[in-house]
Amino acid sequence: MFDLAKKAVEIANKRKAEFADIRIIEERRQSLSVKNGEIASLNDLVTLGFGVRVLYRGSWGFASSNLLNSRSIELCTLKAFEIALAGTIINGRPARMAPEPAWQDFWQTPFIKDPFAVSVEDKLALLFKTNAILRKNKKIKSAVCDLNLIREHQWHMTTDGSKIEQVLLSCGAGSSASAISEGEVQIRSYPSTHGGQTLSGGYELIETLDLAGNAERIREEALALLTAPQCPSGKKDLIIGGNQLALQIHESVGHATELDRVLGYEESFAGSSFATTEKLGKFRYGSPLVNLVADATLPGGLATAGYDDDAVKAQRWHIVKNGVLTGYMTNREFAHAIGARRSCGSCRADGFSNIPITRICNLSLMPGDIPYEELIASTKDGILMENNKSWSIDQKRLNFQFGCELGWLVKNGKKTTLVKNPTYQGITPEFWNSCDAISDENSWRLYGVANCGKGQPGQTAMMCHGNSPARFRKVKIGVKDN
């Protein structure tokens, strides 16, 4: 593949591009889904293609194609030059790339069991078995079990000398049961909502989830929610963990600290950020307990790789340290905006057909020092929410509202009543500053976000957010103020 790739690099060098790269990507995705005892998806997708990025006279051009041969690479590279040149009619600040050593390397996701070597028969058997358990009640109108396996083989070559081959592997699975009765709809999912739990690694991840073993429990919880009381509104202490806290980290810290957003480059679509660069090193993002660490080297992380799509070696760095904003997600183009001499390596593209953009890395809340049981026991009047159901946050990442699948009232240190339709709202820094307890490492887990959308044209990326359950004081629960 590198023999083909060098065509783009040769043309770019000959035409004196400031920077250029080519990424050739072969991807295999297998998605299996069973809904209500029938196959809802059984698709094996294999794609191959390349994208060429050119920085010429301070202006970017990018072109991609699924036709992989020398002539096609030549045409696409010339197209990228044409596009870059067109951009120079506008007198903007010339783009430039932060320096990075030239890497020549091979990296691959560690795994035990190749997911594509497991038979479709076995995969379907797991999904059908789980689905049958979920449907053992007539009020369950929708039972869905999903399995998604992805392998991406990349060959990345740059004009500054990097030549990197990577094989990234991830696996995910999940199930959900929707109970419907008398105009009420309640859903429970396992282990997470929005397609389940995805991590980097092999099929061994699926085997540890025990989908079938958890099916009866989530079915019964979905049914119980049909008749559960509505979650009360008002200010209460909120305990969240799992994929809800993961999404809270994702939306209110991850996206807020993507440096391209901070600088306004996403304003027209996803929005910008309140966490502007003059706040770096000074702004109290959260209470002193709050430490949020970005880590592209994290085992199991969906953003874990040897290198990002700017050919920057994987790194680990603080975004929030002892409550203070200390870092951003950066790429090589924007790193200089915060005075950095090198990118942190958080630039990725969705497949071969998209240009690399700044992305959230694996971003985790570091564990605190009290056992989870003690966190519950020390809560007088609170609510524990589990599994995200809905999410929304404003265009500067300040005002958010999340809904969860279920809530438990916590009274005098004990989980008491199951409640339905719990939601909470807040303002990002006020919320993180209200964090007064984080459970210890015994309850710290990684949660995958496999469907993060960003950019125009739209791109999807994957990342993880590790956390242990945490408590936030006096949070607005529901939509009323009483």
């Binding site: 809802a40 059984l42 294999v46 506008i90 903007g92 109108k141 939509v479």
Partner: protein
Amino acid sequence: MIKTENICERIFALAKGVQTEAFIEHSSGALTRFADNEISQNVYNDISSVSIRFVDAGKTSKVTLNQFDLPAIERAVKSGLETLKWQKKDKNLLPLAGPKQLASSRNVFSKETAELPPLYRAGKINALIKACKKTRQIAFGTLENGLTSYTLANSRGVFARHRESYISYSVTVRDRDGFGWAETPASNSDDIDFEAVNRTARLKAAMSRNPRDIKPGLYPVILEPAAAADLLSYLCVFGFGGQFYNEGSSFVSGNLGKTLLSPRLSIEDNALDGPAPGMPFDFEGQPRSRVLLVEKGTVKAVVHDRKTAAAAKTVSTGHSLPQPNGFTPFPLNISVRTGESSIEEMIKTSQKAVLITQLHYTNLLRPPDVEMTGMTRNGTFLVENGKISKPLKNLRFTQSMVKAFREVEAVGRKAELCQVWGKLSCPAFKLKAFNFSSATKF
């Protein structure tokens, strides 16, 4: 250019009698993105793929690939057929559909529009940026153009093709602490009034400067077309999708023929000759029907694919998504009937109301009454005594759309084409009551 007929024939021959469907998709498109008064991204893609679905006596599988050489197709067909072996029979699985007469839809293809070069896009953007720089405004947005083409064929004789060009110009302007926005999608560049888009976004941004606080609560709202379209798209998907209807999670379930919405609201799905035209067939090759969803507030029909139609003991309306899938068929080419008002008249006749340009990050909270949340964006104003009195900081709403669109006070006489879940042609609306649950800081 790929010869789709040849590829389909080759695939069907390799499948050796197993019912086989081929869906070939080609897209060629370019997008120039600008931010902070300069071009920030400039991309071009030319991509084709084929999805091959097999159905054989209650068993199904699918393979998708983007390489069209014979060995690649042979490997894919072999793999797909192999996968059929590992399944138990599903007695409910439908065989592939046979061919049906397809109506023609409006022409939505312009070669010139599809092939507009990067210099064209840069020139249009440059005009906006120059104007913005003169008034210390900052422009952000995208200008994109291209084409998509679809071929759907199956071994039972279905062969359907559709292609459309597109162009979309979206502008966000920042004016100190004010924001404005305007956007126009079209299938032909002649239908884009670039000057008007620029003017609207710039004016809104200037008007939005120095936004004020307002106490969250219930207010009448005037929704500009883009904001109304965002909300109505959820109402249409979660209300009028055949699967949600069958499962009982839709507000329409068991209520067809009842007046659940305002008599001022009428909605039709019409891919053929409506103001939001598109593909005249669905992803099973079935003809798209015109479906009147709401007539003067009365819910009249939902949309179906063959599977949901069979479960509801009716016929497909031609709204299938690619099969198999776990989601509902839903309306993709929606036309909301216009009324007799204008935004200016809605403002003039309002004692107090909130005027909303655009919504952001909308999401569904509860399906049965389509309760949603989201934020206002890029131009939120307070209307008092028949006039816009001041710009407002953005607000979060938490509101049932069934309730909100039960009390429509006025409908705009001019509709705009909006891109939401599909295409939606929508006028402005004035609603009697809309719940804002919190505010943000800007």
